[in-house]
């Protein structure tokens, strides 16, 4: 767990989930703590200035959905980081939702058939709103059979399959 991590995540839900896992009291749900920044690497550019602030030895983690098949900016961002920091390609970890975070949660929770059941919501927007405000998300997920080893474990389809799914490198035993 030593080392530095900098997560670029697609949205607030990913941020809330990752923060909750970082602070999980249950050792088996812990992940490497790191700075979390909301920036969708498929749609937003990481500036060279920002890349220069990434310290040596950092692992950069890209967390994104794979529902829209578009990787030109993702490739640009990888290049920006490699050209403006001391990091190499192997220092970038890809965490790809197949195909969205909600789908990943349903896949990783044994007793969840659709995402609305988790927080008693209807529709994607209501779920997001409630998920972001939830103060105790890890116990909630555990109550529906959350298995962290299933989360972000599937290989996405083209054109994302060439980026190795790396969430297992972030899970830790406290």
């Amino acid at each position: 767990m030593a080392g530095l991590y900098h997560y670029f995540v697609e949205g607030e839900c990913e941020m809330v989930l990752l923060k909750a896992l970082m602070h999980a009291e249950d050792a088996s749900y812990g992940i490497c703590p790191g700075k979390i920044e909301i920036l969708n690497v498929l749609y937003q550019k990481i500036s060279p200035t920002k890349a220069r602030t990434i310290k040596k030895g950092t692992k950069v983690v890209f967390v994104f959905d794979t529902d829209i098949k578009k990787i030109d900016l993702l490739e640009d961002n990888i290049e920006t980081i490699m050209n403006n920091s001391s990091l190499n390609e192997e220092d970038i970890i890809f965490v790809q939702s197949v195909s969205s975070l909600e789908d990943e949660l349903v896949f990783a929770c044994e007793r969840l058939v659709n995402i609305g059941e988790l927080l008693g919501t209807k529709g994607r927007e209501e779920f997001k709103k409630k998920f972001i405000k939830h103060r105790d998300i890890v116990p909630k997920l555990k109550s529906v059979g959350f298995q962290i080893n299933k989360m972000w474990s599937r290989i996405p389809s083209e054109p994302f399959s060439s980026f190795a799914q790396g969430f297992r490198h972030l899970t830790i035993k406290k």
Binding site: L4, H23, C32, G34, I36, S47, P48, T49, K50, T53
Partner: protein, 372 residues
């Protein structure tokens, strides 16, 4: 004296602010000696409180708020407290729990009523029993809203002392050298000042008490450079020949001497090391901590996050951050590293660098200036 808890509402930049400086459970492998009162071992308090926060997070304000509450207890002047009220259209509230090593606990509560600015006080003292913990003493208090009375009547017989606050010299009223000691102490203080100054600046040869002026010390330099006086009451910023960091060394020596001689008991050292190298800062901090005696407490604010690597208990490290509530009001929160990370073998610096405590400032507005 040690502070166990503070609450501030509508005081300076603090709204619904609460900070606890006790700890509930005996530590299995304590990395700091006797963080409890010797005669009352269940009264556990955080002997060292390092406060790290980004700029404008409230570190100095916290020191000032505590300082003004102590001053109010001493001078019994309402203005001392009223001047700290942030929004005059709202009532303000202060709570402070303190304990003396001799076994006296007190809770001071202050209400500043809006719009009259009437200052009402509730003051409760308890003598500690041998087995008392902070929690059992609090259980014996009256926590109702009753009992607030005019401050003059309540505080008439309250005597309190034993604090030492050191704020940066750029703060109004703090650009001043403090080195007034009895004659029989001057040699010992000059020895401390010499050791600190020589460490900060290796061109310093010696420091001796002035024979001509009381509370003045003569700093001699190597290579025959002209000696300079350091005199109580003079402006720190106007000391000649010393670098910015070495000027701070004068008051740092003063606080080390105060702790060494146990002159006060409660010490708040606020950002004295902004111009000082990391090695010197940790040497001074470790020295101060080591000198703390029974019932004494040190607060130490810094921007130097390398301090977080030092082997103090996790609960010694605190972070201040501004958060906005649902109504858009900005509130300051204190986050204690020990509450989020219980394992004492974990490097808090690494967690901080990974923003585990969620206190890193957003730097995007500056970074965007660099975009071409």
């Amino acid at each position: 004296m040690a502070v166990l808890k503070v609450k501030f509402d509508n005081i300076l930049c603090f709204n619904n602010f609460e900070a606890d400086f006790s700890y509930p459970k005996k530590l299995v492998k304590p990395t700091l000696d006797s963080e409890y009162l010797n005669n009352f071992p269940n009264i556990r308090y955080r002997k060292l409180n390092v406060i790290v926060g980004s700029n404008a997070s409230g570190k100095t304000s916290l020191g000032k708020a505590i300082w003004k509450v102590f001053l109010f207890l001493l001078n019994k002047e309402a203005k001392t407290i009223i001047d700290m009220v942030s929004n005059a259209n709202k009532s303000a509230y202060v709570l402070m729990d303190c304990v003396y090593p001799e076994g006296l606990f007190f809770r001071l509560e202050i209400k500043i009523v809006s719009p009259t600015n009437e200052v009402l006080v509730k003051y409760q003292e308890k003598f500690l029993n041998g087995n008392d913990s902070y929690e059992t003493v609090v259980d014996r208090l009256d926590d109702s809203d009753k009992g607030f009375e005019n401050y003059i009547k309540v505080l008439e017989h309250v005597i309190t002392s034993g604090w030492n606050f050191l704020f940066p010299s750029i703060e109004s009223g703090f650009d001043v050298i403090s080195c007034a000691y009895e004659k029989n102490e001057r040699k010992e203080f000059s020895n401390v000042l010499e050791r600190v100054l020589k460490t900060f600046d290796d061109s310093v040869l010696s420091v001796t008490p002035s024979k001509e002026i009381d509370n003045s010390y003569i700093v001699s330099f190597k290579n025959g450079l002209k000696s300079i006086p350091i005199t109580h009451g003079d402006k720190l910023s106007e000391i000649k020949m010393l670098s910015s960091g070495s000027k701070y060394a004068v008051n740092i020596a003063g606080i080390i001497y105060a702790i060494k001689k146990h002159k006060n008991g409660f010490y708040f050292v606020d950002e004295q090391f902004s111009y000082v190298s990391h090695d010197l800062e940790i040497a001074c901090l470790a020295t101060m901590v080591n000198l703390l005696d029974d019932g004494e407490q040190l607060f130490f604010t810094t921007h130097d996050t390398e301090i977080l690597s030092l082997p103090f208990p996790n609960h010694s490290y605190n972070f201040l951050k501004k958060v906005s509530d649902e109504e858009g009001n900005i509130n300051i929160q204190m986050i204690n590293a020990g509450t989020l990370e219980k394992r004492n073998n974990v490097n808090i610096k690494n967690l901080y660098d990974n923003d585990f405590f969620d206190v890193a400032p957003s730097t995007n507005l500056i970074l965007e200036l660099g975009d071409k």
